[in-house]
Amino acid sequence: MRRRQRVLACALAMLGLVAAVLAGTTYGAVSIPWRHLVGILAHAAGLPVTPDWPTWEAAVLLHVRLPRVLVGLCVGGGLALCGAALQALFRNPLADPGVLGVSSGAALGAVIALYLGLAAHSVWPLPILACGSAGLTAFVVYGIATRRGQTPIGTLLLAGVAVGSLNAALTSFVLSLSLANFDIGRQLILWLLGGLDGRTWEHVKLVAPVTLLAAGLIIAYARDLDVLLLGDVHAASVGVDVVRVRRVLIIATSLVTGVGVAVSGVIGFVGLIIPHILRRLIGPHHQWLLPLALVVGAAFLVFADCLARALIAPEELRLGVLTALIGAPFFLFLLLRHRREGLL
């Protein structure tokens, strides 16, 4: 029965992914008919197709919609996958990619890049600074929590919360400095609210390889994550090198999170919602959960982006605001259910 459910879930997830890509590319201020979509893509791929669409459609699709959708797929999939992995790693169902302070670290780096005006000249300084400070945060948090080669999970979580708060405070500080400059202040706030607007192929080139490589690495540890849920000693007793697995997974999830925040701003709760829904549907096995989280998270974020564009059209709702509006009540629901089940 489980098996049928899983196969069904996989099929639905792939269907959802295709639907999300279609919706994300065709829907917008101007609609592009999906016949044209196929033609434009085939033409761009060098297939012999005679163009029967207006050239602006090709331009909008190839330079605006497609990078936007691809970045959305990578960020959504990456966040959901990291959430699933971190919940197992910390043996805490409420963990998410923000838990180690990595997201807030990336945000701080990005805000500094914007404030100093570095981001105005090229698309690269912002993501690079964001990734750098995300990595630095992960390193500092892990360093603080490690003593004599041991990294207790409780200390790691506390260090993550503490360093995360420091990052948030510094971000607010930069924000308050820039209040006098309306333009920069506006940019900062827009970025902090998270969104996929104005993403380019440069962003895709940054986020896609990192996300896919790290995702492959994380999925390779699926079975170790299953065993880690029983506890460190259990895991070690069945042959898991707990210290190494934890280090590898923290580096991989920090990379994905850092790069995700670097290209799309602060988008919360995806890593919390998706794994929980999936666990309900297909069970807790990471061999299924992790790949599905990647696919479903990707589809979810692209759909959410469409919704953010549609809700208050012609204005756009910030994507980070939308995911928080969906995610925070969901988080509360989880908390209440946990309390009812006596787990908290």
Binding site: Q87, A88, R91, N92, P93, R148, A220, R223, D224, D226, V227, L229, L230, G231, V233, H234, A236, S237, V238, G239, V240, D241, R279, G283, P284, H285, L343
Partner: protein, 296 residues
């Protein structure tokens, strides 16, 4: 008799605090060996060394003739399996899933379960009478059932050495007996077990030999009758106890009566007066009705 687990001259310290010193013993096939000693005597540390979680500062541990230090984590896990005092799992794996985790050391990263794995899992479920629970989740089970499942997980690992750390500490008496009888039955089939245990009566009932640790050293090693004696309990556990050999039961009766004062503490103080029962018959002058507590 060739030893399955051999501990020779093992010394271990956490940073500056010495925990084990010159521990030597070996365990053969079909043997249940109890590990007793007061809190902090090094029982858990010894199990952790045997699991390869810690490395000995000096001396060597061998499993089935190979030094632990020479084995990878996975190779070691094919020889030693572990049952802790309690297991908490927040995410709802079924009993079968948990037992299947015992196959982890035998499987490659992406390798699916083979018929041999399936057979090992079924055997472990049957040996612990947990087949009926197979589709329930770990959280739904009672403490006794959960502990049986964890034992099944260790059995599915098909390791020759079972290491158990207080496996009965959270169980009621019936489940304590059930658990240890299971361990005994499995060990009789050709494995061995090292069980850290606080309950001296249970240790005497189920262990073929007992190792008594005190302050990191082996202070007694032998049959329950040789190790669990009134003198040893008074000296190393600081308790006053009655121990009687019951010939018709073929077992020991252990009746703990009262704690003795800690060494190094003043024997009598206003805030920590000696327990009257503890000292009643050892030192009559502290007994009930004695006059030493009256003011002059």
């Amino acid at each position: 008799m060739s030893a399955l687990l051999e501990v020779s001259d093992v010394t271990f310290a956490y940073q500056d605090r010495a925990v084990l010193s010159q521990v030597t013993f070996s365990i053969g096939a079909r043997e249940v060996v109890g590990l007793v000693g007061p809190n902090g005597s090094g029982k858990s540390t010894l199990l952790r060394l045997a699991l390869g979680l810690l490395a000995a500062d000096h001396g060597e541990l061998q499993v089935v003739g190979t030094p632990i230090a020479a084995l990878s984590r996975k190779a070691l896990a094919c020889h030693t399996a572990f049952v802790p005092q309690d297991t908490v799992m927040e995410i709802a794996f079924t009993v079968r899933d948990v037992v299947a985790m015992g196959r982890h050391p035998h499987l490659g990263r992406f390798q699916p379960e083979t018929p041999a794995d399936e057979a090992a899992i079924q055997w472990a479920l049957e040996a612990t009478a947990t087949q009926a629970l197979a589709e329930r989740t770990l959280q739904e089970l009672s403490g006794g059932e959960r502990q049986r499942v964890i034992l099944a997980r260790a059995l599915a690992q098909q390791a020759t050495i079972l290491l158990l750390d207080e496996p009965t500490a959270n169980l009621d008496v019936a489940h304590q007996l059930e658990m240890l009888m299971l361990v005994q039955a499995v060990v009789r089939g050709g494995r061995c077990a090292l069980v850290a245990i606080h309950d001296l009566a249970l240790a005497a009932r189920f262990c073929d030999r007992i190792i008594m640790l005190s302050e990191g050293a082996v202070v007694a090693l032998g049959t329950p009758r040789e190790v669990i004696t009134e003198a040893h309990l008074a000296r190393y556990f600081r308790i006053q106890a009655r121990v009687r050999w019951e010939p018709e039961l073929g077992g020991l009766l252990v009746l703990p009566r009262a704690p003795l004062p800690e060494r190094g503490f003043p024997q009598q103080s206003r805030y920590n007066p000696p327990h009257p029962m503890a000292l009643g018959d050892l030192c009559g002058r502290y007994g009930p009705g004695s006059k030493t507590t009256q003011d002059p």
